[in-house]
Amino acid sequence: MTEGPSQRHDNFDRERFLDLLGLMHRIRAFEEEAIAGQKEGLVLGAIHPSIGQEAVAAGVCGNLETADLMLSTHRGHGHTLAKGAEPLAMMRELFGRKDGTCGGKGGSMHIADFGVGMLGANGVVGANIPIATGAAHALKLQGSRQIVTCIFGDGAVNRGPFMEGLNWARIFDLPVLFVCEDNTFSATTRTREMTGGAGAAARAESLGIETAELDGNDVVAVDSAARAAIDAVRAGQGPRFLTCHTYRMTGHTSVDPGAYRPAQEVEDWRRNDPIVRLEAALQVAGIEDSRLSALHRSEAVGMAEIARTARDTGWPEAAGAFTDVQDVGDPSERAF
């Protein structure tokens, strides 16, 4: 799994992958700041880091247009950033501050930015699959060229909505790309031990959906497979399905030490870090080390500044608790 880039370097779009490297650094820096923020009590609820999985977010979302739609999971910071959300607004949301992505109402697990087509992280595993299917259904009804991408974890494939959503997308030939981000675990459980048969892709295939299985830590591979799938979906060929094999480098949440994972396994995957791998590929392609480290530094420094700004932001007004509940029967009329 630790081979080099999956394309020959003379055929390697360096500028594109430098951009993706910057994006992966941004995601990592965001989550490192968030984890640090949680230790300081700045992040209030649970956060589910995606450290080690950045190639999936970057490789998939890097091929989407801003107008395209994307739905994510509880582990959605990376997908959201890659879809183009503002890191400062996101950090404010995690800190529960004013001007957060959802005004401080959602937090990490419910982050959403409809302005960039990010239709929400979700606290309920698998719940995003039928919703993504419905969004694609609407796009088809509207004759839009936009597509929907639905990213979910390996654990979601054992819930009924997975089967129902995929079947629906197939029979209505909907413009949706399903991405199973297989990070090996669902919470403390090794998903393979709870999953019959050959897993997510085999199930999608059984429903007549074309699939591809990828090394999810190889952003070059994810990028090219995602581009092909997205082109097909946009061309009206119906749903596509990708399984990206990766590994969750942290515990399930930032406060879970993840001690149920064998140390050697964690170490093997650490050596397989998607950022390190892309840097190595870029070095082979002739990019100077100084440029690579400058890229890293600028994202890390920028994110530290963002975290400082977020921490200096005020709290949302308490009265906001009563807004955006509903129009008819608004709670401000009779809240108690």
Partner: protein, 342 residues
């Protein structure tokens, strides 16, 4: 009468300190030792469950009886219904009551109705553990208290313990119960410590606990709010108002006798719960008391619950959905004012 029972039970046994979480774990362990047909199923149980409430039990009882499941709530509940019809007593772990919503058909249309629909040919002895309540910034999908939904369903028993001793004794009673029981532990109470009897301690279902005696007003509550009500009662006592605090513990069936007896004496009823006030179970209690005791009331019955808003993440907004001891005190003071007396 019930108070006597508690005194006797406590008088007989030695007490130890335990957390609410450990008490629940002990209840499962003891019932599994006592009855080989008891087993538990749910996500992550092999590693002790999401809160550690099953820690060590798989080592003790094996993978068959402490079963790790896929993330398949509908099938966890549905399979438990089938297994309960087939001679076993499943403990269904739903992790958060919010996720139990993925299995509502299996609980409401199947578990709750099977015995009746099939003419009493069998029973569905299962316990659904579904932790409820606000905790720290867990936002709209991980903080809800939906107990009133289940009290509305014929066929279900609904239990919401507030203390370590009750979590031990009520969970044991629920596991022994032949009806499907929705068992709601409060997430914010896991670490709460309290005295717990040693030995086989079973608290009967359907009996309230008189958490504090008082002559002026009856506060009926359950789950996490028991503690807020007791705190408010202390402050009220400083102001010369003696509140009686009744912890219902079981919501269906609820202990009408104890509530009516108390309100008959105090003439005032305040129901306090963490759930949204509108259509909350407090409405049922308030209406029942108004129907039965109208002419003995010194003030209109009152309810205190959350406003009808989803629970926000940011603390400023989250706090708007919290019922506080100060809010309880204010509600009691209002009931004690002469102009409110009819």
């Amino acid at each position: 009468m019930y108070r006597m029972w508690v005194t006797q039970a406590r008088g007989r046994s030695e007490m130890t300190m335990s957390t609410y979480l450990e008490a629940g774990r002990r209840a499962v362990m003891e019932e599994m030792q006592r009855d080989a047909s008891v087993w538990a199923l749910g996500e992550d149980l092999g590693r002790g469950g999401v809160f550690g409430q099953y820690k060590g039990l798989q080592e003790m009882f094996g993978e068959g009886r402490i079963a790790d499941t896929p993330i398949s709530e509908a099938c966890i509940m549905g399979a438990a219904v089938g297994a309960a019809m087939t001679g076993t007593r499943p403990i269904v772990e739903m992790r958060f009551s919010d996720f139990a919503l993925c299995a509502v058909d299996e609980l409401v249309n199947q578990a709750a109705k099977a015995r009746f629909m099939f003419g009493g040919q069998m029973r569905v002895p299962l316990v659904v553990r579904e932790p409820v309540g606000m905790w720290r910034s867990s936002a709209a999908q991980h903080s809800q208290s939906l107990e009133s939904w289940y009290t509305h369903i014929p066929g279900l028993v609904v239990v919401a313990p507030a203390t370590p001793a009750d979590n031990l004794g009520l969970l044991k009673a629920s596991i022994r119960c032949d009806d499907p029981v929705v068992y709601m532990e409060h997430k914010n109470l896991w670490a709460t410590e309290g005295e717990v009897p040693e030995g086989d301690y079973v608290v009967p279902l359907g009996k309230a606990d008189v958490a504090r005696e008082g002559r002026d007003v009856t506060i009926v509550t359950w789950s996490g709010m028991r503690h807020g009500c007791l705190k408010a009662a202390e402050t009220l006592a400083d102001a010369g108002i003696e509140a009686e605090v009744l912890d219902l513990r079981t919501l269906w069936p609820w202990d009408r006798d104890t509530v009516f007896e108390s309100v008959g004496r105090t003439g005032r009823l305040l129901v306090v719960h963490e759930a949204v006030a509108v259509s909350g179970f407090g409405a049922e209690i308030a209406a029942s008391v108004a129907e039965a005791l109208h002419f003995r009331l010194k003030a209109p019955v009152a309810r205190l619950g959350a406003p009808r808003i989803p629970i926000a993440y940011a603390p400023t907004m989250e706090d708007m959905a919290r019922v506080s001891p100060e809010g309880i005190e204010a509600a009691v003071h209002k009931m004690m004012q002469p102009e409110d007396i009819s």
